[in-house]
Amino acid sequence: MKKIKQLNLFSHSALAIAAFAGTTQFAMAHTRLETATVAENTRITNNVIISHGCGEENVIGTSVVFPDGVDSTILVDGNPHTGSLTDFVQNWGNLMQQNFSTAVFSSQDEKTDSLGNVVGFWAGGGNSLPHTLNGYIPFRAGAVVIEPTSCAKSVKFYISIADICEITDTAGFSEATVNLWTHNNLGTAYDRVSTTDDGPASYIVTRTSALPTSCGATGVEVEVKPSAAQINRDMPIKFNGTQVWPK
């Protein structure tokens, strides 16, 4: 009797594992950063991790955009902040620099704003990334300095990413052509179709300095989201000056 119970338990466990690990397609991982949380004043090497394709379609490129902090939306404990990002971060801008790598794609480049500061990057071309495998796109995340006079205990930056499986125009975006790890509510053609705003990868910088006494014991959580204008400007991929995605 005991043996039968053990067999039943094994069978149920195996079924459960099979259901979660392989035979269902429900829990597809989002594209995220390898290191999502870092202490302020710390530079790290990081990776965008592409974890799957568009259904059965391989990934042929990726486009990554960091909020520029210029016209970004800033939330403080979930409430809109009308001041600037410098109220909480001293040095945001040009901190994310792409590392050269042809491990996944053959071409890559950084995207810059009008002052030449890096606001994103792309990688693509060469062999496609098999839809069942992970792809690591490396970059250097520079040291972020939280304004010491602020009450910020952490600052979360939302990073918008498009994993491209087929080059189309924006009208051709679908689950078979692109995975949009973007906000669902900016009103751009790049918005993720989702009921929840869980698309972008997050990068959280945590404070190491003491909070001013006026902040109390807990401080505030700051979030930074890109504007629609920035997404429309910076999400497209340009190669040698010509836009190649979207068509």
Binding site: N41, T42, R43, N91, G93, T112, S114, N117, G142, V145
Partner: protein
């Protein structure tokens, strides 16, 4: 400076030249042309240099200097100011077009963001270079990054 000629705007030129196009002898030396049209007396370049511990130790201070690469012009000199917290310092390249930088200035601000301003004494195009290095208390070079905030 062929890479400069490819730039569509002077703003774009600013960081690209600052960060990569000019083949200066070592990292953290950078330059470009300000007031290329020669009409903006108040032209100001504004950048943030972040000092941090890259494994060599926390920064104790920032060393900086500026070099005017253009031919001498009467009354036209390039100046660099560095600000961190409640400290500030400035330096001027008194001899334009020679091989020397201005006197090096040091500001003790530890880790964090240092404001660098570059300007000049009157209207006129100036090709210039800035040297900026975050240094530990034991005189070792440590983490140094830059972002341009303004170039106009």
């Amino acid at each position: 400076m062929p890479c400069v000629s490819k730039m569509k705007t002077i703003k774009l030129a600013a960081l690209m030249v600052l960060l990569g196009c000019v083949n200066l002898s070592k990292a953290h030396e950078a330059g470009t042309v300000m007031d290329s049209g020669g009409t903006v007396a108040g032209f100001t370049g504004y950048a943030l240099v972040t000092c941090y511990d890259n494994g060599n130790g926390p920064a104790d201070h920032l060393l900086a200097s500026v070099r005017d690469l253009s031919k001498p012009q009467d009354g036209l000199l390039v100046n660099l100011q560095v600000i961190k917290g409640n400290r500030a310092i400035s330096t001027t390249d008194a001899v334009s077009g020679d091989a020397s930088y201005s006197p090096e200035v040091k500001i003790h601000g530890g880790n964090g963001s240092y404001l660098l301003l570059v300007n000049k004494t009157k209207a006129g195009a100036r090709s210039f270079a800035v040297s900026y290095h975050c240094i530990t208390a034991s005189d070792t070079h440590t983490g140094t990054d830059i972002a341009v905030q303004q170039f106009e």
